[in-house]
C-alpha cells in the first residue's frame, strides 16, 4: 500500500499491465518522447520502446480505427485522446464500428480509450468537456469514471482486460490534486460495482468522477452546519452502473441528489433519476434533484467557469433544500 496521486495510479496501472501482458501497447499523440500532454506516460517509451509506446500523428479517427483493427487480431491496445474533447473526431469509429463489432460478428474489441476530461482551470470550450453522456447512450461501449487513485488503477486494469471497447474518463482536475492509498499488485476493480464514498442516513448523493469531492465538501459543511448526514455513492463506472447500490441507498435515505459535471439535458443523471423514479418511487420522500453543469459550452473566463461548474456551495444549497422538503 502506498500513497499515490491519481495520475501516478493510472500510470502504474498501465505500466504493470504492459509488463504483464505483451499484447498491451499504447498509441497516442505525444505520448512517447514528450511523455503525454499530462505526463501520464512519462518514461514509458524508455521502458517499453517505440513499438509499444507509439507516437501517432494527429489522427483520432485513424488512432481509434487502428486500435480496433489490432484488437480484432488479438491485441489489447490502449489509445489516448489528448483531451477527451477530441474524441468527437473518432465518434464514428467508436459508436458505429467498435461498439457494434461484437454484435455484428461476435469478434471482441478489447480496446481502451483514455480520455482526460473535465474543467476547472480555464481550458475553455474545446478542452474542458465531459462527453461521457454521448457514449453512455450507445450500447456496446463500457464507460469508467474513476474518482480515487485506487480506482484509477483498479479500473484501468479492468478496462484493459475487458473484452469490450472501454472509454476511460480520467478527470484532469484530479491528476495531481488527489492523493490516496493504492493497494500494491494486481488490484483490478470490477465494473458496475459502486463504492460508498461515505455513509449517511438523511440523504444520498449519487455521483462519479471529480464531483465525488465536490459532494464530500458539501456533505462536510452540511454535517457541521446542522448534523445532516449525507451518503455519497461513487458509481465508478456508468456503463454498466450499479443500480442496486443506488436503489439501496435511496431506500435507506429516501432523498437523493444526482450530481455530475456534464451538462444537464440528457446527461447521465437523467438516466439515474428516471431509474429511481421507476424503481424506487415508493421509497422517496422528495423529488429527485439533479445538480449538473448547465446546458452551455464550458466558458473560458474564470468567473464564468466557476459559475458553470457545480460548486460545493451549490450542492450544499441542494442538500439544505432537500433536507427541508
Amino acid at each position: 500500500m502506498a500513497i499515490k496521486t491519481y495520475l501516478q495510479a493510472i500510470s502504474d496501472g498501465l505500466r504493470e499491465e504492459m509488463r504483464r501482458d505483451q499484447r498491451v501497447f499504447l498509441i497516442g499523440e505525444d505520448i512517447g518522447v514528450y511523455g503525454g500532454a499530462f505526463k501520464v506516460t512519462q518514461g514509458f517509451q524508455q521502458e517499453f520502446g517505440e513499438d509499444r509506446v507509439i507516437d501517432s500523428p494527429l489522427s483520432e479517427t485513424a488512432i481509434t480505427g487502428a486500435c480496433t483493427g489490432a484488437a480484432l487480431m488479438g491485441m489489447r491496445p490502449v489509445c489516448e485522446m489528448q483531451f477527451s474533447d477530441f474524441v468527437s473526431c473518432a465518434f464514428d469509429q467508436l459508436v458505429t464500428v467498435a461498439a457494434k463489432q461484437h454484435y455484428r460478428v461476435g469478434t471482441p474489441v478489447p480496446i481502451v480509450v483514455r480520455l482526460p476530461s473535465g474543467g476547472g482551470f480555464s481550458g475553455g470550450p474545446f478542452h474542458s468537456q465531459n462527453p461521457e453522456g454521448f457514449f453512455a447512450h450507445c450500447p456496446g461501449l463500457k464507460i469508467a469514471c474513476p474518482a480515487t487513485p485506487a480506482d484509477a488503477k483498479g479500473l484501468i486494469l479492468s478496462a484493459i482486460r475487458d473484452p469490450n471497447p472501454v472509454l476511460y474518463f480520467e478527470h484532469k482536475h484530479l491528476y495531481r490534486r488527489i492523493k490516496g492509498e493504492v493497494p500494491d499488485g494486481d488490484t483490478a476493480v470490477e465494473f458496475g460495482k459502486a463504492r460508498v464514498h461515505q455513509e449517511g442516513s438523511d440523504l444520498s448523493i449519487i455521483t462519479y468522477g471529480a464531483m465525488v469531492y465536490t459532494a464530500e465538501e458539501a456533505a462536510k459543511a452540511a454535517a457541521e452546519q446542522d448534523g445532516t448526514s449525507v451518503e455519497i455513492i461513487d458509481l465508478r463506472t456508468i456503463t454498466p452502473w450499479d443500480r442496486e447500490a443506488v436503489l439501496a441507498s435511496v431506500a435507506k435515505t429516501s432523498k437523493v441528489i444526482v450530481l455530475h459535471e456534464d451538462t444537464h439535458t440528457s446527461g447521465f443523471g437523467a438516466e439515474i433519476a428516471a431509474t429511481i423514479a421507476e424503481e424506487a418511487f415508493e421509497t422517496l420522500d422528495a423529488p429527485v434533484m439533479r445538480i449538473t453543469a448547465p446546458d452551455t459550452p464550458v466558458p473560458f473566463s474564470p468567473p464564468l467557469e466557476k459559475a458553470y461548474l457545480p460548486q460545493p456551495g451549490d450542492v450544499l444549497a441542494g442538500i439544505e433544500r432537500l433536507a427541508a422538503y
Partner: protein, 358 residues
Amino acid sequence: MAKAAETPPDTLLDKDTALRLFRMMALIRRFEERTEEQYTRARIGGYCHLAIGEEASTVGAIDALEPGDCLYASYRDHGTALAVGSEPVAVMAELFGKETGVAHGRGGSMHLMDVQRRFFGGWGIVGAHLPIATGTALALSYRDLPNAVLCQFGDGAVETGSFHEALNLAGVWDLPIVFQIINNQYGMGTSVEQSSAEPDLWRRAAAYRMHGERIDGNDVLAVREATARLMGIARRERRPALLETITYRFRGHSVADAGKVYRSAEEIESWRKRDPITRFGLHCSERGLLEQDEIDQVWSDVAAEVKSAIDEALGAAFPDPDTLYEHVYGDSAWREQFSRMRAGAPFGERGEERTWQT
C-alpha cells in the same frame, strides 16, 4: 565597393511597407513575450501557445490579404489577431478572460476571433477549421464575390482526416482558397518526420491536382509575395493552392512545455540565428529603407503599446456570472429553460394552479 551589388535596392519594397511589416512583427513579438510573463504570473488561465519565431509566416501572409478576403487560423493565434488589426488591448483582455476581450472572455487564447475584420477564428481543435474555411470559400464562389480565403494551420493538422477532405473538396469544386501550412516542424513534441510519411508537406497538393509550393517562412517578403500571388490566382481563376512556409517556434508547444525534450539546444540556436525579425531589420537597413534609430523607435513604441494594452486589460471587468446562459443559442427563447437548471431553481413545488392530467 562590391557592397552595392550584394545588396541591391529592393524595388518591391517601399519604406511604408517595410515599416508596416517590421512594426507588426515587432508588436507580435513583444506582445507574446509579455503574454508569457502574464501567464507565468497566473493572470492567464488554461493553455497558452506562443508563436515566437513564426512572425514572418503570419505577418507576410496576412499583409497580402485584400479587403473582403477571409482568414482562418490555428490555435496559435495571438499574432494572427494582431496582424488582422484586432486591438492589442482586446486580445490581451481575451487572454485574461475579460468581458472586453475579442470573444468576451468565452473563448480565451485559442479561440480569438474578429469577424468584422474577417478573421474567422483561431481554432482549438487541430485541423477542424479546414473544412470550415473551405465552406467559406464555397460561399464566396456561390455568391460570386471577388475574394478568397486564406486558411492557416500547423504541420500537425496535415495528418488529420480533415486536411484530406477539405483539400479534395476545394480541388474538386475549384474553390478560391489558399491553404497555408505554417510548418514550425513540430506538432507539439513530435517532428514532421515522425508523423508524416511524406515530410515534404507541400507535395500533398499533387494528390488533389493542386498547386503546391514550399518557401522560407522566416522571410516575410517571400511569404508576402507567394501569398499575394496564390491568393491572386484564387481570386481571379478560382484555383486553390497549398503553400508551405517553413519556420520554427523558439518556445515550447505551450508555455508549460520548455520545448527541450524533443529537440536539441543546437537546433534551437541555429534557428535563432534565422530570427525573422532581426533578419528583416537587417534587410531593410542594408537597403536604406529603415535607419537603426527608426528600428529602435519601433521597438520602444510597441513595448509601450503592449504595456498599455496589459494595463487596460487588467483593469477591465470579468464577465458577469449572470451572463453565463447568454449566447448559447441565437435567440433568447432558451433562457428560461436554463434558469431551471441552476441551484435554487424550482424544485418539487406544486403551485395551487397546477393541475394534473389524468
